[in-house]
C-alpha cells in the first residue's frame, strides 16, 4: 500500500522492502531522538530562562548518567549495524544460478549484453522474478550503476569487474542512473530498466536478431586470437586446460591459491604473467590494449561456459546457434 508513497521510490525488487524497513525504523528512531532532545531544550529554555534573583544551580556532572547515555546508544547502534550488515551481505551475494548480464560503462552510456546475445544501450529488459547478476566494468572513468527502485548501487571501475544482483518483483519502467560523477554529461548517463512478465520477456528476447549468444561470440574471438593452440582440452597444452575451471580454486606457481572468478580470468588475459598457474611457464602474450572491454566480457563468458553451470543457468555453447564456429575447439 505504500508502494507509491511519494517519500520513497517504487519498490520493485526483492531487497527494496528490507531496505525501506530499516529506513523507516531509523526515521522513527531519529524522529524520537530529535523530539526528545528538542523538547528538553525547549522545556529548559522556557523553565530556566533568566529571571531576576534566580541563579543557575551549579551541577558538576554525573558519571552514571554519562555511562548510561553512552551504553544505551551504543547498544542501539549495534542493532542498526547488524541489521544494515545483514541487508548488505544479502545484496553483495548473488544467488547461484542467476542469469548474467554484462555491463560496460563508458562516458556517457551504458552498454549491456545478455547471455543470450541481446545487446542494449541505456536500456535493460529483465523478467519479473528472475535473479539477475550484473558483471560490470568501465572503459574509462569510474561510473556507478544505480537503480533506485531496486535499491541497488555499485560503482563500475575500469580494470576490474564488480558485480551486483537483483530480483525484480514488479513490472514497470524504472530509472537507471549513473551515480558516480564521470564528467561533462554525467547527468545524461541515464537509462531505464524495463521489468516485464516472463512471457513478454521471452517474446522480447526472441525478437530482434542477434549474432548468437555472448559465449558463442566469445568462442569466435577465442579462435581468432589463436587461443586454442595452447589452451587445449587435454593435458598436453602449453597453457592450462580451461574446461571446468571457472569458480574452482587454482594453484599458482608461487604457492598461492586463487579462485578462478571473472576478475581472475580477465587479469589472466590482459596480463597473463600476474598469476601463473602451477606447472606452467609465463609464455602467454599480453593482451592489454589488444582486446576491448566488450570482447573481454565475451571471452570471459565463453570461458565460464566451459564449466558446467551450477544450476539452471543458461549454458552458453549449447544455446549457440550453428554457424559461428562448428566445433568446440576443445574436442
Amino acid at each position: 500500500m505504500f508502494d507509491n508513497f511519494p517519500l520513497w521510490p517504487v519498490r520493485a525488487s526483492s531487497e527494496a522492502g528490507n531496505v525501506d524497513a530499516l529506513y523507516i525504523f531509523l526515521v522513527a528512531l531519529s524522529g524520537f531522538m530529535c523530539l526528545a532532545i528538542f523538547t528538553m531544550i525547549l522545556v529548559f529554555a522556557t523553565k530556566y530562562r533568566r529571571r531576576r534573583g534566580i541563579e543557575a544551580e551549579q551541577i558538576e556532572g554525573s558519571s552514571a548518567l554519562e555511562i548510561t547515555w553512552s551504553i544505551i546508544p551504543l547498544g542501539i547502534f549495534m542493532v542498526i549495524f547488524a541489521w544494515g550488515a545483514v541487508i548488505y551481505f544479502h545484496e553483495r551475494t548473488p544467488p547461484r544460478g542467476a542469469s548474467e548480464v554484462y555491463v560496460v560503462a563508458k562516458q556517457w552510456m551504458w552498454k549491456l549484453q545478455h547471455q543470450e546475445g541481446q545487446r542494449e544501450i541505456n536500456e535493460l529488459h529483465v523478467p519479473v522474478g528472475r535473479d539477475v547478476k550484473l558483471i560490470m566494468t568501465s572503459q574509462d572513468v569510474i561510473h556507478s550503476f544505480y537503480v533506485p527502485a531496486f535499491r541497488i548501487k555499485q560503482d563500475v571501475l575500469p580494470g576490474r569487474y564488480t558485480t551486483a544482483w537483483f530480483r525484480a518483483t514488479k513490472p514497470g519502467v524504472y530509472h537507471l542512473f549513473c551515480s558516480q560523477y564521470c564528467g561533462t554529461m554525467h547527468s545524461g548517463m541515464i537509462g531505464q530498466v524495463t521489468v516485464m512478465e516472463l512471457a513478454q520477456y521471452e517474446a522480447w528476447l526472441s525478437g530482434g536478431g542477434t549474432s548468437g549468444s555472448l559465449a558463442a561470440s566469445g568462442e569466435s574471438i577465442f579462435q581468432q586470437l589463436g587461443c586454442p593452440t595452447c589452451h587445449r582440452s587435454d593435458a598436453q597444452g602449453r597453457g592450462p586446460n580451461l574446461v571446468g575451471i571457472f569458480g574452482k580454486p587454482v594453484q599458482l606457481e608461487d604457492g598461492r591459491t586463487v579462485v578462478a572468478d571473472e576478475n581472475y580470468i580477465r587479469e589472466s588475459i590482459l596480463s597473463p604473467s600476474a598469476k601463473i598457474v602451477s606447472g606452467f611457464k609465463p609464455i602467454m602474450p599480453v593482451f592489454q590494449g589488444l582486446v576491448g572491454e566488450e570482447q573481454l566480457t565475451a571471452l570471459v563468458a565463453y570461458v565460464k561456459s566451459l564449466s558446467p553451470a551450477p544450476s539452471g543457468a543458461a549454458d552458453g555453447p549449447s544455446l549457440a546457434p550453428a554457424g559461428t564456429r562448428s566445433q568446440d575447439p576443445k574436442e
Partner: protein
C-alpha cells in the same frame, strides 16, 4: 566621533600601529586572526556565490542556466573553496588564533612568525586557486577521484591540486603552533583540567591537522605527478589502482570533517556555558570525547567507499567503527542539553546560534546513522541524502558554530557591540533558510536523485524548488552579519571588557586586548566555568 576620544586613550592591538606594513608584517596572533577573517570571508562569499548558481540551475529539471561543463565546475569549486579555503581555516585560524593564547593566559602563540607564515601560505594558495578559477576552473568534484582527475578531465586540475597542497601546509603549521602553545604556554595554575573546553577541542583538531593533512598533501602530489608526468599509480591499464586514491583521499578527508566540526563544538561549549551561566555538565566527558573523536576519526575512512568495490568484510569493519565514532558526538549533545537543566538562560544572538547548532548537528548526526548502515548506504550513497547529511554537519554545525562564535567574541575582537536585534534576526533567517534548503534534499536523496546532476527527471522538481527558495533566505542570513559587523566597527556601542559576564581568561583583559594580551601576567586559581563567582550582567543589552 565622541567615542573615538575615549578609545584613543588606551593602547590596544588595533591602534598600536597603523598602516599596511603593520598588518602585513605583524606577528600578533590577534592581527593575524583578523587577516584570516578577511581572507576567509572573501572565499566564503565566492563559494556561496557558486552555491547560489548551483541552486538556480537546479530550479528547473532541464540544464538551462549554465552549460553542463560550467555546472560541473561550479559544484567542484564550491566544494573546494568552502572546504579548503573557508571551513578548515574558519574557526581555528580566526577564533582559535585570536583566542587560544588569550584563553590560556599567554602573550602569543608559541611561534608567532610561523603563524604569519601560515597566513602567507594560505594566501599564496588562495591566489593560485583564484587564478585557477578565473582562467577556467576545475571540474573534478572536490574529491579529485581518479582516473577522471588524472587522465580524463580537461580542466586546471594541476593548479587546483597545487593550491590545495599549499593550503594544507598552512593548516599543518597552525595545528603545530596550537599543540606547542597549549603544551608549553599555559599560565601558572592553568592545568589541563582547568582548560576551557574550547582549548580541548582545538587541541584535538590540531592533532588531526598534524597527522592527517600530510596524507592529503602526498595524495594530491601523486595526482599532480600522474597528470603531469604520466605515471601509472592510479591507472589500471598499467597496474595502478583507482581505489588506492580513494583510500588515501578519505584517510585525510574523513578526519577533515572533524577538523571542521570539532572547533564548532569548541565554540558551542563556551557559548552554552556563558548564557546558561553554568559549568558545562560532565566537563571531563566533553573534553575526552573530543580526543576520542580525533582518534576514532582516523579509523572510519572507508565508510565513504561501501559501494566503491571494497571487500564485504572491510565494509563490515568500517561500518561498525563508524558507529563507535558516533558515541562521543552523542555524548556532547547530551551534555550540552543537560547543562541547560536548572540553568539561567538568556537568548542572545550567540545562544540562538548555539540552539541552532544543537538542533542541526543532532539531525546531521542522526542521519549519519543511516549512512553508516551498510544496507541503506548502498541506496543513498552519492545521492542528495549525502549532500543533505554533510551540509547539516558542515553548514548547520560548523558554520552555525563559526557565526555564533564570531558574535560571542566580536566585542573582544573589535571592542564594539554588534546590533543585537539584527543579530537575532540573522540567526533566525539562517536557521529557517538552512532547513528549507537542505531538509528537502534528504527526501530527494531517498527518492533516488543522484548528486552532481546538471539536469534531472521532472519528478524531483518540487523539492528542488523548495531547496532553491531556502537558499535565497540563507543568503540574506549570511549577508546581514557582514553588513552589521562592518557597521558596528564604527557605530556599534563600545564594548565593556566582559559584556556577557563570561568566565574565561580572555574576558579578564580589556576589549580589545593590548598587544601582549594581559597587562599583568595572569595566574589561575579557579576551575573553568566558575559561573557561580561571576555576576550575570544586569540585563543583556538589546539595541533597536
Amino acid at each position: 566621533m565622541a567615542t573615538l576620544a575615549i578609545t584613543a586613550e588606551r593602547e590596544h592591538y588595533l591602534n598600536k600601529e597603523y598602516g599596511i606594513r603593520s598588518w602585513l608584517l605583524t606577528t600578533d596572533h590577534k592581527r593575524i586572526a583578523l587577516l584570516y577573517l578577511i581572507s576567509i570571508t572573501f572565499f566564503f562569499f565566492v563559494g556561496g556565490f557558486f552555491a547560489l548558481l548551483i541552486r538556480l540551475e537546479l530550479l528547473t529539471p532541464a540544464g538551462d542556466l549554465v552549460q553542463a561543463d560550467t555546472y560541473n565546475k561550479l559544484f567542484s569549486m564550491h566544494g573546494q573553496v568552502m572546504i579548503f579555503f573557508f571551513l578548515i581555516p574558519s574557526i581555528p585560524a580566526v577564533l582559535g588564533n585570536f583566542l587560544v593564547p588569550l584563553m590560556i593566559g599567554a602573550k602569543d602563540l608559541a611561534f608567532p612568525r610561523i603563524n604569519l607564515l601560515s597566513w602567507y601560505l594560505y594566501m599564496i594558495a588562495g591566489v593560485i586557486y583564484v587564478h585557477c578559477i578565473v582562467t577556467g576552473g576545475v571540474d573534478t568534484g572536490w574529491t579529485f577521484y581518479t582516473p577522471f582527475s588524472t587522465a580524463f578531465s580537461n580542466t586546471r586540475v594541476i593548479e587546483a591540486g597545487i593550491a590545495i597542497f599549499i593550503a594544507g601546509f598552512s593548516s599543518i603549521l597552525t595545528g603545530l603552533n596550537f599543540v606547542v602553545t597549549i603544551h608549553r604556554m599555559r599560565a601558572p595554575g592553568m592545568t589541563w583540567s582547568r582548560l576551557p573546553l574550547f582549548i580541548w577541542a582545538h587541541y584535538a583538531t590540531s592533532i588531526i591537522q598534524l597527522l592527517g593533512t600530510p596524507v592529503l598533501a602526498i595524495t594530491l602530489l601523486l595526482v599532480v605527478f600522474e597528470r603531469a608526468f604520466n605515471l601509472g599509480i592510479f591507472d589500471p591499464t598499467r597496474g595502478g589502482d583507482p581505489l588506492l586514491f580513494q583510500h588515501l583521499f578519505w584517510f585525510y578527508s574523513h578526519p577533515a570533517v572533524y577538523i571542521m566540526i570539532l572547533p564548532a563544538m569548541a565554540v558551542e561549549s563556551e557559548v552554552v556555558a556563558c548564557f546558561a551561566r553554568k559549568r558545562i555538565f560532565g566537563y571531563n566527558f566533553v573534553a575526552m570525547s573530543s580526543i576520542a573523536i580525533a582518534v576514532f576519526g582516523f579509523l572510519v575512512w572507508a565508510h565513504h567507499m561501501f559501494v566503491a568495490g571494497i571487500s564485504l568484510y572491510a565494509a563490515l569493519i568500517f561500518s561498525i567503527l563508524s558507529y563507535l565514532v558516533a558515541v562521543p558526538s552523542a555524548i556532547k549533545v547530551f551534555n550540552w542539553t543537560a547543562t541547560m537543566y536548572k540553568s539561567s538562560i538568556s537568548f542572545t544572538t550567540p545562544m540562538l546560534y548555539a540552539f541552532g547548532f544543537i538542533g542541526l548537528f543532532t539531525m546531521g548526526g542522526l542521519t549519519g546513522l543511516f549512512l553508516a548502515a551498510l544496507g541503506i548506504d548502498v541506496h543513498v550513497h552519492d545521492t542528495y541524502f549525502i549532500i543533505a547529511h554533510f551540509h547539516y554537519i558542515m553548514v548547520g554545525g560548523a558554520v552555525m558554530g563559526y557565526l555564533g562564535g564570531l558574535h560571542f567574541w566580536w566585542p573582544k575582537i573589535s571592542g564594539r557591540m554588534y546590533p543585537e536585534g539584527w543579530g537575532r534576526l540573522a540567526a533566525l533567517l539562517v536557521f529557517v533558510g538552512f532547513n528549507l534548503t537542505f531538509f528537502p534534499q534528504f527526501i530527494l536523496g531517498y527518492m533516488g536523485m543522484p548528486r552532481r546532476y546538471w539536469q534531472y527527471p521532472p519528478e524531483f522538481q518540487v523539492l528542488n524548488v523548495l531547496s532553491t527558495a531556502g537558499s535565497t533566505i540563507l543568503a540574506v542570513g549570511y549577508v546581514l552579519p557582514m553588513v552589521y559587523f562592518l557597521w558596528s566597527m564604527r557605530y556599534g556601542k563600545i564594548a565593556e571588557d566582559n559584556p556577557w559576564g563570561a568566565a574565561g581568561l580572555e574576558w579578564k583583559t580589556s576589549s580589545p586586548p593590548p598587544t601582549f594580551n594581559f597587562d599583568e601576567a595572569p595566574e589561575v586559581t579557579w576551575e573553568a566555568y566558575n559561573y557561580e563567582e561571576i555576576a550575570a550582567p544586569a540585563e543583556v543589552q538589546v539595541e533597536r
